[in-house]
């Protein structure tokens, strides 16, 4: 019953903000924060729903699924919903102060809520074409948000991103068209059922390659990564946090998981392709990140590298690897958005992002400094923090599956990650302070609050492997392990 509200709330807020936001002054702040807060509450509630009922199917318009569209709530869905809505709530809290720097704040909130509606729509849908439609909503909103500052570089980055994103979308649409012709249905569970009754052919592999190209472009895997290092730094800091934190994971990783594991049930050869792509992304992203002097560009390359870890783990395909992949996905969403918000705070108070022109900020920006330390330590895998456990699980899974060289590479890249985050900390917070910046002040309260929240989650996210909280992740992993059984679960609910 509550499933459609994951789309209705952000859509309604977006329409209301665009209608009244210009006239009533603080309305857009209040509405957007209320909207994301209620979404967070709904998504936390969905965990308990999944725990009791395993899988929920909502029939939109009352039509039985192959005819109408259905929404599906299972472990993976609720896991992604919590991740997306948690980050988006903290990001809207942060934007109240941060977006004062930009004109037309209500347009920002409108586009932000539309992007959120798109992401939630992708996550909860059970229909392939519907997934495409919401993917386009999220993408178009993000193209516009990247260019929100309307400076020359931002427009250029947005154009590059929009062109590559549209090509990716048309690959995905072509894949859907071929799949429709082959199976004559659009419902995910139904497609999976029809496919399991057909003899193996070239068709499924071709469609899988199209989807890999499309979703890979959205997830910025390395041969297709050219847009990300431009687009993510160009956006306003809250949007960078959303894009790097949850956007590429929802549009890229989640959609890829759903299509590859639950619908197409791809062969092990294609999974090996995922491992190769993951490895390349991991290595290339890390090496490019070291050379950067712009903070946000460094973080953007680091995102490519960390997405590489997730895709690599998904490619291994053992239960432990799936667990590691999803755990790392959650961790990365938290600490990468924290780091981007930190970079926003640094830019907010010093007006620069260049590492060579910063230094000694730890005294004047204590909250930003300490939360950055937490985020950096978490992403480079320092023991008590969440990032350590997820990387450890991925590496153990790789060794168990016999990929010794890859495991070694993953460890080395982890050390490299530590190196460039130490570089970031050293150049930003330690060393001598610039004379002109003696009297800069800490950022406003709400920005501090959301950074502190994210920092706390960074510390305690390691608890997700404790038996008490494990079911949250385990139920998501079970959906991936279910593979072809997804259709039986969905149709079982309908009968």
């Amino acid at each position: 019953m509550m499933l459609p509200f994951f789309v209705i709330i952000p859509l309604g807020t977006a329409f209301l903000i665009s209608l009244f936001g210009k006239k009533i002054k603080n309305l857009s702040d209040i509405l957007a924060n209320l909207g994301t807060l209620s979404l967070l509450i709904f998504s936390l509630y969905s965990i308990s729903q999944v725990a009791t009922q395993k899988i929920l199917v909502y029939k939109v318009g009352g039509w039985i699924p192959p005819i109408g569209i259905c929404m599906v709530l299972d472990g993976l869905t609720s896991f992604m919903l919590v991740t997306v809505n948690l980050v988006s709530f903290l990001v809207t809290l942060y934007s109240i102060n941060y977006m004062e720097r930009y004109t037309d704040k209500y347009r920002f909130y409108t586009l932000f809520m539309l992007m959120l509606a798109g992401m939630n729509g992708i996550i909860i849908t059970g229909d392939l074409f519907n997934l495409f439609v919401f993917l386009e909503i999220a993408s178009i909103a993000s193209y516009a948000l990247v260019a929100f500052g309307t400076e020359a570089e931002e427009l250029e980055a947005s154009f590059k991103y929009a062109v590559m994103g549209s090509v990716a979308s048309s690959f995905i649409l072509l894949g859907i068209a071929l799949l429709y012709s082959y199976t004559s249905t659009l419902n995910m569970a139904d497609i999976s059922q029809v496919l399991s009754g057909k003899p193996p052919g070239q068709m499924v592999n071709f469609v899988a390659v199209l989807f890999l190209a499309g979703f890979g472009l959205k997830a910025a895997l390395v041969p297709f990564h050219a847009w990300l290092p431009d687009a993510h730094p160009s956006a306003p800091a809250p949007i960078s946090a959303m894009l790097s934190g949850v956007f590429i994971k929802t549009l890229g990783v989640y959609a890829l998981c759903r299509v590859f594991f639950n619908i197409l049930t791809v062969s092990s050869r294609l999974l090996f392709v995922l491992i190769v792509f993951g490895m390349i992304s991991m290595v290339v992203g890390a090496f490019l990140a070291i050379a950067q002097t712009d903070i946000k560009r460094m973080f953007a390359y680091s995102s490519i590298s960390q997405i590489g870890y997730i895709i690599f783990a998904l490619g291994i395909g053992t239960p432990l690897a799936f667990f590691g992949a999803l755990f790392h996905l959650f961790n990365h969403a938290v600490f990468k958005s924290l780091l981007f918000l930190n970079s926003g705070a640094i830019e907010y108070s010093t007006n620069t992002r260049n590492l060579n022109r910063l230094g000694g900020l730890s005294r004047s920006l204590p909250v930003t400094g300490y939360t950055s330390l937490l985020g950096s330590m978490a992403i480079s895998g320092i023991p008590p923090l969440g990032g350590f456990w997820s990387k450890l699980i991925i590496i153990i899974a790789a060794i168990q599956a016999g990929y010794f060289v890859s495991a070694l590479v993953a460890i080395l890249i982890s050390i490299l990650t530590l190196a460039y985050y130490l570089k970031f900390l050293k150049f930003t917070f330690f060393g001598k302070i610039n004379e002109a910046r003696q009297n800069i002040r800490e950022v406003p309260g709400l920005m501090k609050l959301s950074m502190i929240f994210l920092g706390i989650i960074c510390v305690i996210s390691g608890l997700l492997i404790v038996p008490l909280f494990k079911p949250f992740l385990q139920s998501a992993v079970n959906v991936l392990l279910l593979g072809n059984g997804y259709k039986d679960a969905v149709f079982g609910m309908l009968r």
Partner: protein, 149 residues
């Protein structure tokens, strides 16, 4: 704009004056008969937007914007979107999101049939027409500012 007089020549203006109403009417016809014949909210909405754009091209932007200003277009668009969403929400009365509420769907092949479909068509056409007009007006106005510099 090199000519002191805004817009195109007299011939174009006269023909526009004669046809623009017909184009608008045709758009409305297509919207209202969306559930009976080819067309529907999108095509009709685009035709309605095109009739305003036609006016703007022929008479210059002032005349068209006087009839429907950019702010009004923007408001109309949001209203259309809200209307569509609320039609969808009304379905909850019947138990489901997007439920076609009307139990008696009317006599087929007549204008008042098919439950929520004509209402949805009207909402969509409002939204599409106003939205596309807003896009076009913004792009044209932007050029105007460009030349001032």
């Amino acid at each position: 704009m090199k000519n002191p007089e805004k817009g195109m020549t007299l011939i174009v203006k006269t023909i526009t004056r004669l046809t623009v109403g017909l184009i608008l009417l045709y758009g409305i016809y297509i919207v209202l008969h969306g559930h009976l014949s080819p067309g529907g909210g999108f095509a009709g909405g685009v035709i309605i937007a095109l009739s305003f754009i036609h006016l703007m091209l022929a008479f210059g932007k002032e005349v068209a914007l006087k009839k429907l200003s950019q702010v009004q277009a923007s408001i109309l668009e949001s209203l259309g979107a809200l209307m569509f969403l609320s039609i969808a929400l009304l379905g909850f009365l019947g138990g489901y999101f997007f439920f076609n509420l009307f139990l008696h769907k009317g006599k087929p092949f007549t204008l008042f049939s098919a439950g929520i479909i004509p209402l949805c068509n009207i909402a969509i056409s409002l939204k599409v027409g106003a939205g596309l007009f807003a896009i076009f007006a913004v792009l044209v106005l932007f050029k105007g500012l460009d030349e001032e510099k």
